[in-house]
Amino acid sequence: MTAIAPGVAEPALAAPAPRTDGVWRTMVRSKSGLAGLVLVVLITGMSYLAPLFVDDHNPVDAQNRWQGPSGEHWLGTDHSGKDVLKQVVLGGQTIIYVGFLAAVITLGVAVVLGSLAAYYRGRLDSALLQLTDIVMTVPAVVLLAVVGAFFGLTTPTTLALLLGLITWPVLMRSIRAQVLSLKEREFVEAARLQDLGNMRIIFVEIVPNMAGYILINFIIAVTNAMYALVGLYVLGLAPLAGANWGIMIHQAWTYGAIYLPEGRAFILAPVCAIALFQLGLVMLTRSLEEIFNPRLSKG
């Protein structure tokens, strides 16, 4: 497999940041990367554009509970007679929003703390490492369940914030390792000689060099955040107001949809939506890894 597209062939200058056009081309050329991208874009697009076209009025219809798929209700109806297809189409927004926001927070904290720790070393470094040790120890999902239930999290944004603040340590450690090796490179030395200032060296010279690495980890963070979030919804530990994929699964599970042949679509539709979205993200990271770390694909 040719890991690097001809587009990147010309030698990069001082800061060898990967060229974006090359990345794009390689990703589109690799089948699984393209498939992953299509899945992610399609599902995100559906969730965010659907409200423009689909009327979100989805009335409770006691006469038509647990209907199988039909011309009127393509995926049937749920325990209260609501249309399942509409719920699936409109139910992705919160999940995707929280996933991305949590990933942004995780990544932000990890990149800032990781670079600072690696760049300054010394006491700051050991204190931060000790902190990661402690935060990593408590099972994130369990802590989230407890804090979520006890503090009564009501908005998706608080959920994202909490997720972000619990899950940064693993990433912070790997960013730290990256910066440790990057800061020995010549271009950092050159920047130091020019007296560019520590903050500028870290965030303008070093961090952009990890762009590919950061992008991959961003996507991984999205999948992790979605995993935890949907889990909380499915177990009913997060507020069950509104409708999203997690809440749908929770309702389908508690109302026993699995035992009714007509209810099968109600439980499987959101499960498939989440699974496909996650799969898309994972395929995307795999092909990005091949681009940014060509040694992997040779192995």
Partner: protein, 360 residues
């Protein structure tokens, strides 16, 4: 590296006692153990204050619930005084001291349901450890085998199939996979009876060391174990594959080949042993991950391990139990990490050296 030099010197010059004390403190194992204890202490402290800072005082909440259920204030207060081992009106710092003191004696307090937290934990924990451990063994075994085969036949059919299946299964959240398993395996195909397989063992079967009980326990654990194994074996296979490939490129393997040793001998003695090394650290992280996320799978499959206790405690606002279970999970994670570090350092002395040199 340089840190060991003064020790040797001080012992030689006669400062025996301080020298030995310092050497004990600098010892890798001792330092790791202290560090783990420190982490546990910090987590305990943070959790204690976090739960105390929550809105609403648990005793008042309990009394209010009892009164709403029709009890008088006096009787509710009397029950509460018996149930709660701490008095919310004493200063926080004193409560904290009492809590730590009790903790040192293995007393985690009383649950709101009238039993002690320790009893609650010991009824759920063994099942979780059993199912997660059993799954881990299978997943590691299968993963190691597949990983080595994939490394030897890189780019082959097996390599591609396992990579694809492994990443697809890994991408699906394990609790959703559990749902899919129940819907298709249980309801659609009728491979197992969904209602019957729930729980940890069949009612009426006595927990004892008999064939009936053991086979019953394995039967009930089979669903969660299937979920854990199928969602994790791909990761193991990929890690083992990468590790084997790196080892295959080592000079000593080339030398062994040049010496004309048999492939089988090279595979087991030279490659296999060294390739397994990096996996040991993985066992701890993967193990704690599965353990930490077992809460979702267990609740979906109604496997009554520690998660069922935790879930019930969260719903009842049973602070002492929640605190106890969180502490216990932390302890399991810290302990497994410590174990992995120690095993790793025993197998590979370089880790000890670098940790001593870098100071952590």
């Amino acid at each position: 590296m340089s840190t060991t030099a003064p020790d040797v010197a001080s012992v030689r010059t006669g400062e025996r006692t301080t020298g030995i004390a310092r050497r004990i403190l600098r010892n890798y194992v001792v330092r790791r153990v202290f560090r783990s204890l420190f982490v546990i202490w910090v987590v305990t402290t943070v959790m204690f204050f976090m739960l105390r800072l929550l809105p609403g005082n648990p005793v008042d909440t309990y009394i209010a619930t009892q009164m709403r259920a029709g009890g008088s204030y006096e009787s509710a207060a009397a029950t509460a005084a018996g149930l709660f081992t701490f008095d919310p009106s004493t200063p926080l710092i004193q409560q904290y001291g009492d809590y730590l003191w009790a903790l040192l004696h293995g007393d985690l307090g009383n649950s709101l349901t009238g039993t002690t937290v320790v009893e609650k934990i010991s009824s759920g924990l063994p099942w979780t450890l059993f199912s997660v451990g059993y799954a881990l063994l299978i997943a590691i075994g299968v993963g190691l085998l597949l990983g080595v085969l994939m490394a030897y036949r890189r780019g082959g059919v097996l390599d591609h199939t396992v990579s694809v299946i492994g990443s697809v299964l890994h991408a699906i959240p394990n609790y959703l996979f559990a749902i899919i398993l129940v819907v298709f395996g249980g309801v659609q195909l009728g491979l197992f009876d969904v209602a019957d397989i729930r729980g940890t063992y069949t009612a009426g079967v006595e927990p004892e060391l008999s064939f009936t009980f053991v086979s019953d326990a394995f039967y009930h654990a089979s669903l969660p174990v299937t979920v854990y194994v199928l969602t994790t074996f791909g990761t193991w296979a990929l890690v083992m594959k990468a590790s084997t490939i790196t080892t295959l490129e080592e000079d000593y393997v080339t030398v062994a080949r040049a010496r004309g040793l048999s492939d089988r001998r090279i595979g087991t003695q030279y490659v296999g042993r060294n390739a397994v090394l990096p996996m040991i650290a993985q066992i701890a992280t993967q193990g704690s991950f599965v353990f930490g996320t077992a809460i979702f799978v267990e609740l979906i499959l109604k496997y009554d391990g520690i998660s069922a206790e935790l879930f019930a405690a969260i719903n009842d606002r049973d602070y002492a139990t929640v605190q106890g279970i969180l502490l216990l999970m932390t302890f399991v994670v810290v302990f497994s990490n410590l174990l992995a570090e120690l095993v790793n350092s025993a197998l590979d002395p370089r880790i000890r050296e670098s940790a001593n040199g870098a100071g952590g």
